[in-house]
Amino acid sequence: MSADLSTPLSPLPAKTPAKGMWSAFWHLPSVTVARFTLRSYARSGWLWGEVVFVVPFYLVFWYYSGTEDYFFSTATVGLCLLGLVGTAIMTHRAMNARVYLPLARLPSRAACTRGLVLATGALRISLYLLLLGLALAFNSIIAPRPADIVIGSLGVVANGLVISTLVVTLSPPMATRLMRIIFLAWLVVAFAPLPGIDWLAALFSVARLPLLPLAANIGLGTTLNPGVVGLWPLPVTALYIVGLALAADAELARRDLILH
């Protein structure tokens, strides 16, 4: 064991300058956290679990060929389900006492939440591309048209990203138990059949409004050829993702972090 501390490291300000936009982006704290989170997720085996899930999912639903709308509607369900479970596991793994050391280097906690959102987002997109690749490679989609595939895929990915970002935002330590209960209560109201009482039915209808863009995203893949106006849910969904990520930042920033 030899520890030589006689020569201190050079002073702090000598940081590596970014040599280009890509390098600057690649080394942003949130992107660095995202890369590390994905590596950690891969080394733990969970990432491969998600990849493996895609294959039987494909085999079960597209062993026999189906139409484009069948593919997009089932892919949405599969990707959202995976986004729900996978992101919950990823967030749980990332937000334990190990996060103290990265946090101790950063002037803001936002890099941690944004890194998580980026990591799970990148994984959702990759998994969808794997699923789509399998479907196209084995001719599981009857008469696929490139424009429809692109538009339908945008809808599926958009919903997958909303779900995964939502899971990050609602996970501890970002959200409290009360917040999760309120969210679940809203979900129950939004999905419940409309009651017979007029004012209550109106209230339930209002509760459903935030789900409209997500439903429209599914529509992108099933109705196809929506036209430019029909693409309205995509920017709204993008706003959802940004809003949820910012909410996660804000919640984590004010939380006492007592992690184990």
Binding site: A3, L5, T7, L9, L101, S108, R109, L257, I258
Partner: protein, 329 residues
């Protein structure tokens, strides 16, 4: 009182209080200053509030009331790039290599490419982990994990090191190595805040110390000063001379604090007069030394005094002395 102005203070806490869940007061009105460049020991039993204080200093939790300022920053997270932090237990993922971890932390601090590699290499060499840098962390011993933790704290050449029980649970050799590292870092002029359960470690490494108990600061000050607060000199008479008889013969009874067998204890202030009398009477002395106590003795004494509602006179005097002469209680 440890005196240091805001410009010279690395850490400043004023009336700092932290209450968990609205009822458990982990810290209560803590006022504490750690001067820049000092090696400061933080002592206290389990549940005394040390970890809470460290979390507050690192900005992991927020004060219920009061002020905490680190390296001049009220929003302590802004000081993070200038702080090296070592958590109370190694918290690394076992499947990464030591080098990989350090590169990650270097990148988060804005050092990548050649600069990042150079810093990682230098940090590995500093803590003696170069040979095992490409091994997975899961195969590291506890001592190696702690040295990796120190290495990540050193990556940015920080002004302030916050070391939370870095020598807990590691073997004696690694403890020695760790203490040597801390001493060297302190010599380099870095401010070191060392939380520890090991009194001898704090006594050896730190020039200032604070003792917390149940969320309150019960004593702080210069270690050397606190340890000689008794201001007592012990004289051992040569041969089989009886101290009782000598002080009676020379009329020194009023000056003596204690006399038994050939041992005589007197206040340091009375040393010249007593010595003069002994020399004049031709009484030989075997030894003479100021009576100090170890930090452990001080700790036990102060915490017991605090525990008891009626503190013993000696400790009350000690607390008062600390308050007026470079310590605060």
């Amino acid at each position: 009182m440890t005196t240091a102005g805001p410009e010279t203070a690395a850490i400043e806490c004023v009336d700092l209080t932290k209450v968990y869940h609205g009822q458990i007061a982990a810290l209560n009105d803590l006022t504490l200053t750690v001067p820049r460049g000092a090696a400061f020991g933080l002592l206290g039993e389990n549940g005394a509030g040390k970890s809470t204080l460290v979390r507050l200093l690192m900005g992991f939790i927020f004060p219920t009331s009061g002020l905490v300022r680190v390296l001049g920053e009220n929003v302590v997270a802004r000081a993070h790039p200038r702080i090296g932090y070592v958590h109370e237990r190694p918290i690394f993922e076992p499947r990464f290599t030591g080098r990989h971890y350090l590169r990650y932390f270097a990148e988060l601090s804005g050092f990548w490419g050649r600069e990042g590699q150079a810093r990682v290499q230098a940090a590995l060499e500093q803590v003696g982990l170069r040979a095992v840098a490409d091994r997975q962390v899961g195969g590291y011993s506890k001592g190696m994990l702690q040295r990796l933790a120190i290495a990540q704290a050193l990556l940015t050449d920080p002004e302030l090191l916050i070391l939370d029980e870095v020598t807990s649970g590691i073997d004696a050799g690694s403890q020695w190595e760790m203490r040597r590292m801390i001493a060297e870092l302190s010599r380099q002029g870095k401010t070191v805040l060392l939380c520890s359960h090991y009194m001898a470690e704090v006594e050896a490494l730190c020039e200032k110390v604070a003792i917390l108990r149940r969320g309150r600061l019960i004593l702080s000050g210069d270690v050397s000063h606190l340890l000689r607060l008794r201001d007592v000199v012990e004289i051992t008479l040569a041969g089989d001379q009886q101290a009782q008889e000598v002080i009676a013969r020379l009329g020194l009874a009023e000056q003596a604090l204690e006399a038994r067998e050939n041992l005589l204890r007197i206040p340091a202030a009375g040393q010249p007069a007593v010595l003069a009398s002994l020399v004049q009477a031709g009484i030989s002395i075997h030894s003479l030394h100021p009576l100090t106590r170890t930090l452990e003795e001080l700790y036990v004494s102060v915490t017991r005094a605090d525990e008891a509602s009626d503190a013993p006179d000696e400790d009350a005097a000690l607390l008062a002395g600390a308050s007026s002469e470079g310590g605060q209680a």
